[in-house]
Symmetry: C2
DNA sequence: TTTATTTGCTACAACGTTGTCGAATATTTT
DNA sequence: AAAATATTCGACAACGTTGTAGCAAATAAA
């Protein structure tokens, strides 16, 4: 059932029918009604492939993320999808698995009109961003969230990463930690650098020596990460506080502490960024900094649609920063000093 | 840059160029090379909207799921995406949020060629399935996973839900439970009914009385679920074992046990279906039945692509069942009888 | 009444690609 | 050498929709 057939049924030209269905002012209310009724009766729906092709608009956006089995990105997708559904857009998902090469080829794939806009959170391997600059040249709307590329003029939605670094470190110091390690992900990522800077600045503020040995750079290789953490905790001069910049590193730390018979929070305190609804039920319950993931998704999607539809305000240099909040639990409980 | 322009650059007809790029046998190896080189040089890529339209194939599939902030569905998407990327397909995500009406309208949206195939896991409100039967009529390939519609002849990929029900119940009985409650989700879902049947059959096998009061039907309203669980655990004759058919209900139970000062596993033992990598670190660690979510995604996607491309074998009545496995942890530890 | 203007509809040309068919060579077979 | 067949390419018509231009008829203004 297409326009032509529907038009024949109605004894109208197919352009009249097309316009009637799109509520054009050129068509009288009477004919519009007749057409709409008939369309409903015959269950006519526009062919989205033809329509997209003609208009060179796909009504589709792409979400490019490192992974999806992750409370944070899951919630972001939720936020994005909620706005997309409101606006009648479709959402394509692409996973980079933290692989720069995959990210590049995905972006290549998206350059030719398949999508009207792109939302991306960079892979941790991404330092060079020429593949994204090409998008800008093609005028394809682009919004970054969380893992942004600072050098590209596209709207960005992030959390207050620098402040997270400060909060986490301050919290550990407050709870009595003297030697604080940071488990960070790739320094390619600005969020990582900012969290690190928050950590470093806070140490400095408290006159705590910065030690390279306490700054562990992890990546997507979980086994290797575990080795690094194990080595860290096995050292005679091991840290008494750990700031894990992502949840999975905190979980690994928990496991290794168990393995090494280290008691949390007695021997070592842990704080992490996390969105898990299970954090409070861990053994011990895990102090977290919770990011507003759903809101990030909604906000970023909202901006993207404004860009696509070229209405409403947005600025290319816009950087929307949403606040995270610290939820104190047992993993950073102060040690009671026995008399 | 389109075919016509590229052809002009090459002094060839655009149909020749089109064929050369698609490696047609009609074109000589020499011209193919020339064309391919030029295309690379000028960075030509086919317009996917035009190509899709012409072929009436979008190279896109839809994944319709209740939610995404969930270890299970996240992993399934991972599996789906991995196959899709191999095959050069794109993946659209739609969330129903357990809302039947949303599911229906999403399915309506997908009926007109926007996607080449659909994978779905039903919302818990879905009992009537006429919206899915319409898809069958339109010959749109459809594969169910996990939450299937038994009455529709489309390939299905599930786990051994009946067996899960048996395993979980047997495990609790083995650990000394006498009064076992089941927290199940909507009985609309066959997985739910099967798990229930496994539970009931196992009780019968052990001559344990089935009590309606111990069968709690939960839904997407978390607050209401919590009330139901709270009521269950506050009863003087409260259960000593709980089989939660989904993870979030186990987590709620943990929280309510804490609230009511019930000790797990001493006062009450808990087992649940879950894919969380944090289960082992909960307080106490949570005994789980782990579903092969990633494999479900891969298997279901594989079948869908066979259907779409009409090659390889598949049967409409095919029901692929993958096995889950029980991971015993502390939440179901046997009580030691003090002398 | 005549001339503008508006209203309501139709005709038609895109959009960029793909597949069919036919034509011109080139190659093989008789 | 002629005929049959293969190879290689070009012309062209779709695919279903949308937007522009045009053309009547109806209404308003002169």
């Amino acid at each position: 059932m297409n326009l032509k057939q529907l038009a024949k049924e109605l004894n109208l030209s197919f352009s009249t029918v097309s316009k009637a269905l799109r509520d054009s002012h050129e068509i009288s209310a009477i004919t519009k009604n007749i057409v709409i009724e008939k369309a409903k009766e015959l269950n006519y729906q526009v062919n989205p492939l033809a329509s997209s092709f003609r208009k060179q608009k796909s009504k589709t956006i792409a979400v490019v993320i490192p992974e999806v089995v992750n409370g944070f990105f899951g919630r972001v997708i939720n936020g994005i999808e909620s706005i997309a559904q409101e606006k009648g857009y479709h959402v394509l998902i692409y996973l980079t698995h933290e692989d720069k090469q995959k990210e590049v080829s995905i972006i290549k794939l998206l350059q030719n009109g398949r999508v009207d806009g792109i939302m991306i959170s960079l892979s941790e391997q991404t330092s060079d961003t020429t593949h994204l600059e090409e998008l800008k040249e093609k005028d394809l709307p682009l919004v970054f969230f969380d893992r942004i590329a600072e050098n590209i003029d596209s709207p960005k939605v992030t959390t207050d990463d620098y402040n997270c670094g400060i909060q986490a470190t301050e919290h550990l110091i407050e709870k009595g930690c003297k030697r604080i390690a940071i488990l960070s992900i790739s320094q390619n990522l600005s969020i990582s650098r900012k969290r690190m800077k928050g950590y470093l600045d806070t140490l400095e503020k408290h006159n705590i020596k910065q030690e390279k040995d306490l700054m562990i750079s992890c990546d997507r290789d979980d086994l290797n990460n575990n080795d690094l953490i194990r080595k860290l905790l096995k050292r005679k001069n091991r840290p008494d506080g750990i700031f894990a910049s992502v949840e999975k590193l905190a979980i690994s730390t928990y496991e290794i502490c168990e393995e090494l018979k280290l008691k949390i929070p007695r021997d070592i305190k842990i704080i992490t960024l996390s969105n898990s609804y299970m954090a409070g039920l861990l053994k011990p319950s895990l102090t977290t900094i919770k990011q507003p993931a759903y809101e990030i998704g909604r906000e970023a999607a909202d901006i993207l649609f404004r860009m696509i539809e070229k209405k409403g305000h947005y600025f290319l240099k816009q950087n929307t920063v949403l606040n995270s909040n610290l939820i104190e639990r047992d993993s950073t409980k102060e040690n009671v000093i026995s008399p």
